[in-house]
Amino acid sequence: MLEVKTVDLHYGAAQALRGVSLTAAPGRVTTVLGRNGVGKTTLLKSIVGRQSISGGAIEWEGQDISRMRADLRARAGIASVPQGREIFPLLTVQENLETGFSILPRGQRKVPDEVFELFPVLRQMLGRRGGDLSGGQQQQLAIGRAMVMKPRLLVLDEPTEGIQPSVIQDIGRAIAYLRDRGDMAILLVEQYFDFARDLCDTFHVMERGQIIKAGTRAEMNEEEIRGMMTV
């Protein structure tokens, strides 16, 4: 269980998060929606340990991880698919996937087959440098790389960006599959409304660093939310 409790975050003098709270439970998909620049990415960065928060707390599996180093959070079972892919450009696809091994016990250091089932193109390109892949291929690699870590919390920042329609469907199915397995909490930031709605259990809408609306999927009113996402 991830609990974000009234988190504040500043970039220099500018405040990017204002008292943000949310929870993400195993077996569920929690989504965050919002227009450009409202702080979605910032929120995820604070959870995975890329930005330090200036107020509030972040708890994961009962432990306060607000001040924990990023690599220890990864060790605690948090994996992320960042916005902008952040592939290691000079490592091959194979090596990119293997960077996830460092938190696994020796015996388990193997790329799960489901990664290649979901993204067959990665298997074809194992020897190619990550930086040479096309944008969509890189996005697939970024998701695959996070799956290698066998996380208990998977944080996805706009994972469908730049991906072809058929693969988006596959990703949707994969997220649903992971959710249904029940041992993984999934936190998803999306702009693509239909995709988010189809997958989510709970949703949050952000506006200027705050959560202005939250609820379960059943409570999701398309009109209202689309309205919040336009200026």
Binding site: F88, L90, S102, G131
Partner: protein, 533 residues
């Protein structure tokens, strides 16, 4: 030269005839007197006495161990133990015990006298049980050919069992034959032997024979000269390649640590040279310890020093990384300022601790001397350094490409934040990577201490070349560093004979500038969309 030879020969014959007249005792007693030339004559006479003790006297004289005791005027052999000297009578073997350092005066030898002694000893040691001594004797006979000794040499040759000595003897016989009026067949045989020998010395003798002799001998000799010239051109080429490889191996060693700290990590590490220096000083300290406590281990000193140098330089590297560099990731150019500061401090630290002067690091026996490979002389230290450089390279390549830590190192330097999100302990990996680069620099220091100064300036003399090699090869690719080091080394060594060392160096620099225009990312450029984004 010829005149000298005649004189020498005369001296020896003359000595032989006088042998009866003067005893070894008398001769040794007169040894300290007169000029070097006088002493040379006495040496010849001593050799001529046929006395069993003569050889020992000459050897001791050659080594510079022969002195005259002020107290009783006896000629003694001095042994040193630490700062104390002990004397034994060279002729009677009587032990005079310890003598004060200013209580005896040395019987001086200079180069020409040493040559006389060696020539004199030569004839005496042609049948010496030690093959090394026989070899020396044969070589001495070759250098100062004497037709009168031809027979002596031939007999020795017939009795010789060691092939190396036999070869040397046959050459000595050959020159002697060409010098004197040997029968034509013998002379032709001699020409063949010398032609086989193939070096400039042989060529000089053959050229003289070609000019002096007549008929078939002259013809054979001039053919041989042509043959030698041809062979020498080929060997000259081979030699340049070897010199280039050897220079390349030095460049490789100096640069390879930097290929990690700079090439892989992107830290402009101006203190790299000082890390090399630390490795060299570690070697010095190890050798000092060995010299004073376990002299028998001296030949092992480098093997002991290598892991220590790796550890010490690596440790300093880790300290630099944790103390300074880690605050500067994302600001790579500022690492230049900080590491420059560190390099100044390290230099000064070494200067304050070890003094500003060169320190002596000796070559263990396996790294001393040279061997002949055809017409090429290959020095052992250069050969071992080449082997060592390649070994270090291989290990490094393995670590970077085949081990998990190697993968983590590359991941961290490409995207530190993402690596951290993947669960990689970036701080630890950074420290290990920098430590590895630094440790390898330390290893380079062990090797470089064998051929260069061990002084506080050591690092400064390699830093520019190291950056040049890494960048020329293509930063971030350690194969590039390998190729860069060897190609610059070979280019340099092929230019040097034509242009001299200074211009060669300038031309190599110009070449680098031009080459980079053609390949703006170095020899082994990392290409693809990943880099030019």
């Amino acid at each position: 030269m010829a005149l000298l030879r005649v004189l020498l020969a005369a001296a020896i014959t003359c000595a032989a005839s006088l042998a009866a007249a003067q005893s070894l005792e008398d001769l040794v007693a007169t040894l300290p007197e007169g000029s070097y030339d006088d002493r040379g004559a006495v040496v010849a006479q001593i050799a001529g006495t046929g006395d069993d003790r003569a050889l020992k006297v000459l050897e001791s004289l050659l080594e510079g161990d022969l002195e005259v005791l002020d107290s009783n005027g006896r000629v003694v052999e001095i042994r040193s133990e630490g700062r104390d000297d002990f004397a034994t009578d060279i002729l009677t073997g009587e032990d005079y015990g310890e003598v004060p350092s200013r209580g005896s005066s040395r019987i001086r030898v200079n180069n020409s006298l040493r040559r006389d002694i060696r020539a004199a000893m030569g004839t005496m040691t042609l049948r010496h049980p030690d093959p090394a001594r026989r070899l020396a004797a044969a070589q001495a006979a070759f250098r100062s050919p004497d037709p009168d000794q031809a027979e002596l040499l031939s007999e020795a040759l017939a009795a010789e069992t060691d092939p190396q000595v036999a070869e040397a003897l046959s050459r000595a016989v050959a020159v002697a034959a060409l010098e004197g009026a040997a029968p034509e067949a013998a002379q032709l045989e001699a020409v063949a032997v010398l032609s086989e020998m193939g070096n400039t010395e042989a060529r000089t003798i053959l050229a003289a024979a070609a000019a002096d002799a007549e008929g078939p001998v002259a013809e054979a000799a001039s053919d041989a000269v042509r043959h030698i010239d041809q062979m020498q051109r080929l060997w000259g080429l081979a030699q340049n390649v070897w010199f280039g490889l050897s220079l390349g191996s030095v460049l490789l060693l100096a640069a390879i640590g930097l290929a990690i700290t700079f090439g892989v990590m992107g830290v402009i590490n101006m203190a790299h040279g000082e890390l090399v220096m630390i490795g060299a000083y570690t070697t010095f300290v190890v050798q000092e310890a060995i010299r004073s406590s376990f002299p028998a281990l001296f030949d092992w000193s480098l093997l002991i020093a290598a892991p220590l140098a790796f550890a010490v330089a690596g440790g300093v590297g880790v300290a630099i990384e944790r103390g300074v560099v880690r605050f500067l990731y994302g600001r790579p150019l500022e690492t230049l300022l900080a590491t420059w500061g560190i390099s100044l401090m390290l230099q000064q630290a070494v200067r304050s601790i070890f003094g500003p002067n060169n320190r002596e690091v000796g070559n263990p026996s396996f790294m001393s001397g040279a061997f002949e490979l055809g017409q090429m002389t290959v020095t052992w230290n250069r050969l071992w350094i080449l082997v060592f450089a390649l070994a270090v390279f291989a290990v490094l390549l393995f670590v970077l490409k085949k081990t998990p830590i190697g993968l983590q190192m590359r991941a961290v330097t490409q995207n530190r934040a993402m690596a951290s999100n993947m669960g990689i302990r970036t701080g630890w990996v950074d420290a290990m990577t920098f430590g590895l680069g630094a440790g390898i620099a330390g290893l380079a220091g062990v090797a470089l201490s064998q051929i260069d100064n061990v002084s506080p300036n050591l690092g400064q003399s390699y830093i520019v070349d190291s950056f040049m090699v890494v960048v020329f090869g293509g930063a971030g690719n350690i194969w590039g560093t390998l190729a860069g080091a060897f190609s610059l080394g070979i280019a340099n060594k092929f230019l040097e004979p034509w242009t001299g060392a200074v211009l060669a160096k300038i031309l190599v620099l110009v070449f680098i500038i031009l080459f980079i225009q053609k390949r703006p990312r170095g020899l082994f450029a990392v290409r693809g969309r990943a880099v030019d984004a």
